[in-house]
């Protein structure tokens, strides 16, 4: 009986992760034509993650606004700066700010995450 529960949990989490990735991809696609829809996809992805106890990756977190769920695209609706050894992403819609400290280990990951959106 215990084995069945564990398998189900894993399956649900895998499914959740897949759905969230799908939604992020869709958000990226529709952002150009309809940013509000992208926002809806982001909030849905977050809800799925919280429901199924699946975390967003560090890369995901950089492109969403924690306060208003906007899908953040550098240069369009957010401002990306460095300040005091941190990367600071500010949402231009609502003013929400996310700060990520840059450590040596993190540097590669952050670069990759930020490039995905601008490219």
């Amino acid at each position: 009986m215990a084995k069945r529960r564990a398998v189900d949990k894993r399956r649900v989490k895998r499914l959740a992760r897949e759905r969230m990735d799908l939604l992020f991809g869709l958000a990226r696609e529709v952002f150009a034509s309809e940013p509000e829809l992208a926002r809806r996809y982001v909030s849905l992805a977050r809800r799925i993650g919280s429901r199924c106890n699946v975390r967003l990756t560090a890369g995901d977190k950089l492109c969403i606004c924690r306060d208003c769920n906007a899908f953040l695209v550098p240069g369009v609706n957010c401002r990306v700066r460095t300040h005091a050894r941190r990367v600071v992403v500010s949402c231009l819609d609502c003013g929400g700010v996310r700060r990520v400290p840059v450590t040596r280990e993190r540097r590669g990951k952050l670069n990759k995450a930020l490039l995905v959106n601008t490219g």
């Binding site: 759905r19 829809l37 996809y41 849905l44 799925i48």
Partner: protein, 87 residues
């Protein structure tokens, strides 16, 4: 991977869909892409127009990698974040 097995729990947004049948004749053979989902409806974009379609009166045919999957709308009723957990 969306399979006929997990379609009930998977993300419907982004899928191409045809309404195979419905008790509302204006909805049958509507063909388009799912853009949004609520507890009881799907929002489908078809030829430039967005249509809000109730789930429980339609049967849908979704296009997935492996082919077409026909699903009764009644089985899809539920909020998208609830559907993923055992429905």
């Amino acid at each position: 991977m969306i399979t006929p097995k997990n379609i009930l729990r998977h993300e419907l947004i982004g899928l191409e869909v045809i309404i195979a049948g419905s008790s509302d004749p204006t909805l049958t053979s509507l063909r388009g892409r799912v853009v949004d989902e609520t507890q009881k409806t799907l929002k489908i974009e078809a030829s430039g127009k967005r249509k809000i379609v109730p789930k429980d009166i339609c049967t849908f045919r979704f296009k997935v990698d492996s082919g077409l999957v026909e699903v009764s709308g009644k089985a899809l009723v539920g909020r998208p974040q609830d559907r993923i957990k055992k429905k």
